[in-house]
Point group: D2
């Protein structure tokens, strides 16, 4: 867990939210369901639910999705679900998601110099 | 952006990583590709790549995936990709991912009392 | 379209169902939505809904899913949705899905001799 | 299995291809991996690989993807993979994919009269 547990935002760091999710699952005895395999399946299902919001929209319509309050609430809800399963997956495997992303950004800064034309993050 | 930009971890908060991803894309003129619709598609593709690592494993094998250094590196790389696209999506739509997750956890604490038997986070 | 339009099953060939789906969409003026990009997004969303049925099940539970009539109906419904979007995607791009699969099986018979130990179809 | 095993296309019906896939897996002792849960995971992974081809394309670019022979081959290959896992999933659970789709089309013809404006197949 790399980010500080102390902050000025009421405990809203990744580390703190990951801890709350772990406590939440433990209090309900959900550990038996939370194999890494099941959690990545759940993550992909939630990613699909996020895609569903956008599937028939034009690119322009997709950029205006937060202007409608019902759509905005749905987007926020699915973002929360994706992040929740990602953090629970990281918790059971001991992966530091922020450190992994930082390392990836640093590799990509080398792989994709700013003068390049290609487009890919993978 | 809700978590502090100042911390003791070399800038590795969600807010800071989201900023670095935005700067990275802007420096390469990738904004044209980064519609919300495209970014959720990319997020779901990366979630699929994470599932691929686990698709033929038994639950027990899935729990030991970090014991193999090649698998561990692949897991960390895909976690980074999922998080990168989630944060880029949140950036273009102005969604605060940590606030959305905190709100969801609070709703779920009401919906799923600890004496219950069901299992679901959605 | 490679399979016969004439059969003994009331028109239930892939070719015939693909034709009915195309007529169905045309009659409702849905062609504007049915870009290849949108149809693969919809396909992946439906694949996610199929995964959702199985996400928390053990391997053994997953093998018994058709024993419950509500689960069985849900599985059949999602299979129909996945196949519907796959065939609509193939229709708009002129891809012959059965010919593509036959070609793949023939390549795999060469790539994976029966004495081998590996497991993968890709 | 609902469509005829006899046809004029060298055995390229859904029923015949499903049989070849089952024989292929049995000859390699892959049955142990082919739980319904694993097969839907694999299906969703392949759907993701199909989405990947289109993720950064505009709607217009997505409509021209078959004009490039390398992209066309990739599309056909991923279509084959999606269909292969869908049929293997149906095989292990005894689901008749074509009958399921026919039933769905008939339900949708009732649910979406041609004078309607909405767009959805689900």
């Amino acid at each position: 867990m790399s980010d500080s547990l102390q902050n000025q935002n009421g405990g809203r760091t990744v580390a703190e939210l990951q801890r709350r999710l772990a406590d939440f699952a433990a209090a309900r005895d959900w550990g038996q369901y939370h194999t890494p395999k099941n959690l990545v399946a759940a993550l992909s299902v939630e990613a699909g639910e996020l895609v569903e919001i956008f599937q028939w929209l034009t690119p322009d319509q997709s950029a205006r999705v937060m202007a409608d309050s019902a759509s905005a609430a749905r987007v926020e809800d699915e973002v929360a679900d994706v992040l929740a399963y990602l953090l629970q997956f990281c918790e059971v495997l001991g992966v530091d998601a922020l450190a992994a992303l930082e390392a990836k950004i640093e590799r990509n800064e080398t792989r994709f110099p700013t003068s390049g034309n290609g487009h890919s993050m993978e």
